[in-house]
Amino acid sequence: MDAATWTVVWLTAQLAGLTTVLLLLIGTPLAWWLARTRSPAKPVLAALVTMPLVLPPSVLGFYLLLLMGPHGPVGQLTQWLGLGRLPFTFGGLVVASVIASMPFVVQPLQQAFEAIPERTLEAAATLRAGPLDRFFTVAVPLARPGFVTASVLGFAHTVGEFGVVLMIGGNIPGQTRVLSVALFEHVEAAEFAAAHRLAGGMVAFALVVLVALSLANRAQHADRAAPGAAR
């Protein structure tokens, strides 16, 4: 692998890693709230979180480019904060990826939290566990498979995301040229050997990730089936 390819792969890994960590931090409380609330705002917020899943990435990229631009509200905010502008920067890609990959992290977490019976949490409450204690010592361990799925899908989807990063990235080596954009450039320029190396690598990566996820989930089920059978 030559130096330029290595830069691209490393940058993509950094982007996906940072995005996944941020999404777990933001997505966990959000998913917990969505799983437990009876608020009338829930359907609206749930729909907003799901939207990146159904919208074409070009829609997302187009609006982000406008919002984060010098005349957009987000762009004016970041300039006022002294952060400069987000398009064409690594930070901008992180913000865009957090939005684009949000449903891939929030939905598995929400499903995992919803699967925890209310009685289990109530039992913990009768043992004088406070809300935070209940969350960290009861809910999080029970939702572990959800966290695994959320992390893997969040990471993998960020690696595979193309439309949004293409539209706001500007293809700058070492800053915004990620795998999917580099691959697109090779294909368009008819550099098929280089394209095969990246594309084949991504296919292998996706396959390995999904098989590993499926094995992890199976192990989890086996774990639960044995001691939890009496429950």
Binding site: M68, H71, M167, N171, I172, V187, E188
Partner: protein
């Protein structure tokens, strides 16, 4: 009675054979003028034109995989030549229908001066160009930067669009203060150009010839050859020039 019906039927068949359909792959930068040319062509001949706009490189990949296009109206002259060499287009049918004009453009007024001195001043955040590997306008932009000996100074400020259309988006939204785009993108026929621009002298970059070619798929389609001829007509030329192309 029967003879009459038969005659009408024959007439209908003859008419439908004359009024054909031509399927055209057109370079994204030429989609606007092509729509107007197609209207004029349809009115003059009764043929129907179906156009797909997109990047020329993508059309090349699709055509060699058997895409059902009759004509390619390309953004360069290399792709039609390559298609002829590959045996996917009719030899000798390629010709230059338009010459691309490069401009340095800003969406803001008074940013770009009429000599392009702003390039050397460094008083801009980003300069957008189309990917020089993929787009002829991008390659031309890099030649201008080299001709002005500004490669080292400008490289850190460079952002690349995957196509000239994306480059235009970057500048239009103000995310890049400057960009090298096609004059045809900033020209609206009959109106002054918005923002500020410098029409790059044509001696600073290699000519951007945009060629059209008859594809093997359309070789026996009279509507396809008719459209190719219509592209050379004064009516089509007038539309092409009003949209900011030389030629």
């Amino acid at each position: 009675m029967l003879a009459g019906t038969l005659a009408t039927f024959c007439l209908l068949v003859a008419a439908s054979a004359q009024a054909g359909t031509v399927t055209v792959a057109v370079a994204a930068n030429f989609a606007g003028p092509m729509a107007r040319i197609a209207e004029g062509f349809a009115a003059a001949t009764g043929h129907t034109v179906k156009t797909s706009a997109g990047p020329t490189g993508k059309f090349y990949s699709q055509i060699i995989q058997g895409a059902p296009f009759d004509l390619l109206i390309a953004a360069d002259d290399a792709t039609p030549k390559k298609l002829i060499a590959d045996g996917h287009a009719v030899a000798g049918s390629n010709f230059t229908y338009a010459i691309g004009v490069l401009v340095l453009w800003s969406a803001q007024p008074a940013v770009v001066d009429d000599q392009g001195a702003v390039l050397a001043s460094g008083r801009f955040n980003k300069l957008a160009v189309a990917n020089p590997k993929l787009a002829p306008y991008g390659a031309a932009a890099m030649q201008v930067i080299q001709a002005r000996s500004l490669t080292d100074a400008i490289t850190p400020k460079l952002v690349t669009g995957e196509s000239i259309a994306q480059t235009y988006q970057f500048v239009f939204t103000g995310n890049a203060e400057l960009g090298f785009v096609a004059l045809s993108q900033v020209v609206v026929p009959g109106k002054p150009v918005t923002g500020s621009h410098w029409r790059v002298p044509s001696n600073l970059y290699g000519e951007i010839r945009q060629d059209a070619v008859l594809l093997k798929n359309g070789a026996k389609n009279p509507a396809a050859t008719a459209l190719l001829d219509y592209l050379k007509s004064p009516a089509a030329k007038a539309v092409i020039q009003s949209h900011g192309y030389g030629g």
